[in-house]
Symmetry: C2
Subunit: 301 residues, 2 copies
Amino acid sequence: MSDGHFADRLIEAVESKRSHVVVGLDPEFGSLPPDLLAACPASAYPIEVERKVACYREFLVALLPALAGEACAVKPQIAYFEALGARGYALYEEIVTMAKELGYLVIADVKRGDIGSTAEAYARAHLDVAGADAVTVNPYFGTDGLEPFFKRCREAGKGAYVLVKTSNPSSAEIQDLSLDSGGPVYERVADLVETWGRDVVGRSGYSSIGAVVGATHPEEGARLRERLAAVPFLIPGYGAQGATASDLSALFDAAGSGAVINSARAILYAYKKAPDQHWLDAAREEAASMRKALWRAAGRA
Amino acid sequence: MSDGHFADRLIEAVESKRSHVVVGLDPEFGSLPPDLLAACPASAYPIEVERKVACYREFLVALLPALAGEACAVKPQIAYFEALGARGYALYEEIVTMAKELGYLVIADVKRGDIGSTAEAYARAHLDVAGADAVTVNPYFGTDGLEPFFKRCREAGKGAYVLVKTSNPSSAEIQDLSLDSGGPVYERVADLVETWGRDVVGRSGYSSIGAVVGATHPEEGARLRERLAAVPFLIPGYGAQGATASDLSALFDAAGSGAVINSARAILYAYKKAPDQHWLDAAREEAASMRKALWRAAGRA
């Protein structure tokens, strides 16, 4: 069941599409375009949650093909699907399949982490059953709570991005605590990620075990880029969370590779800032402009 | 939509049932009792996953009423349901509802944690939509990634248990890192939990924001009990993971309260060690014997 090597496949996709863009799939009912909502009228759905699922499907089924030329990967955020219950979970699985068929790499943003036996069930759920190419995982349990994900990186061509330094304002509370051996907690986590990934390095020079590094912390990110030569980065926090392309130059390697950057709300709901455009055109233009800005920031223009 | 106060309700359930037992609902297909499997023959289910979901439902629908006299709460481990895809997720929601109707408090073991907007979607999914009484959450993101859960503790009588010191072998890798301000990371997390919970303390003297403290670390647990007078503990690691009742005495308060203890495999699959008994009787006897051992360990015999 090998699908090759995750990091190699991702880097090939970046090169062939000339794009570091990952589109975050964070469907929120209150943000959907008005004309899309009008096409799913409440009167047609006696059960409210079925209407929401239908709208999300309509939205994503239109978005995915439209953005396929601009983005190397998509990152469904499972929380927004779980918030619609089992019907939403079914849509998550459907969207993973559809995105893969359209040639995207799919990074399931699930941030799971638990004791080993439970982590095995999570790895099965998202990498085997739903069939994502990679997942995001939480390091708090340590090695044995992540090993089921890593096993699939080694044996089935999958990928895992470990949370290192997250993009949110409170990230410092635990991640930046200073250790008596020197440096903050997140740097120790980063070193663990490097160790975990050593035996899954591909032809590209990158491991299939990567790190989540928030774009909102560019200086910390630059230091991590120097420290972790073989660890690919997944970078959230661009766009709606405030970071810009110029913040990111130092998160790429010398060849302008080694990192992909996620944006969700700024692309999905670009229509809000472009009232004269169809929502789908607004999303596509925002993704294209992000792609070009990142390509320049990576020194590739 | 207030359901009272989570910690008060849990302590009332412990007192009225004279039980600190939480039954972990970790259904694993390979461990289900053979006569239960025989009642769901493969020939009756053209789709394999439908057979698994049917077996899990059969198993849990029999277990829940049988154990209602022995346990104050159940803790569905969502990973095992997710591993069956959307049909498994639907069963998770069904089981939460059924357990509540049978008078259990339901602690959804989801270990979620993310940036604030995403955490809001997770809180909605598990506390509002699925309707669990409490969830487990991961502290790595800090305060803003947990606030949507805490809001529901303050406003809707819900509970949240934050991972502090987990029961697995690798837990030391990050949780025990020594801080230059003194003490390990998990102790700092514990202090944060105490702070987060200060404005949700009920009549019982306990907060609805609790801590997950593994039974496999009794000394650390005893120190945490002294440090965190108002923080209720959820204690995994009993039974199959190796801890015994005598390990736990110091995790209760002076009144023999303040902690509930989870066991999953040792109860669910007790039939493996009792070949002459029906699996349901074996599970009930194991839960009863755990209840009595804990009651004594809490100094309440």
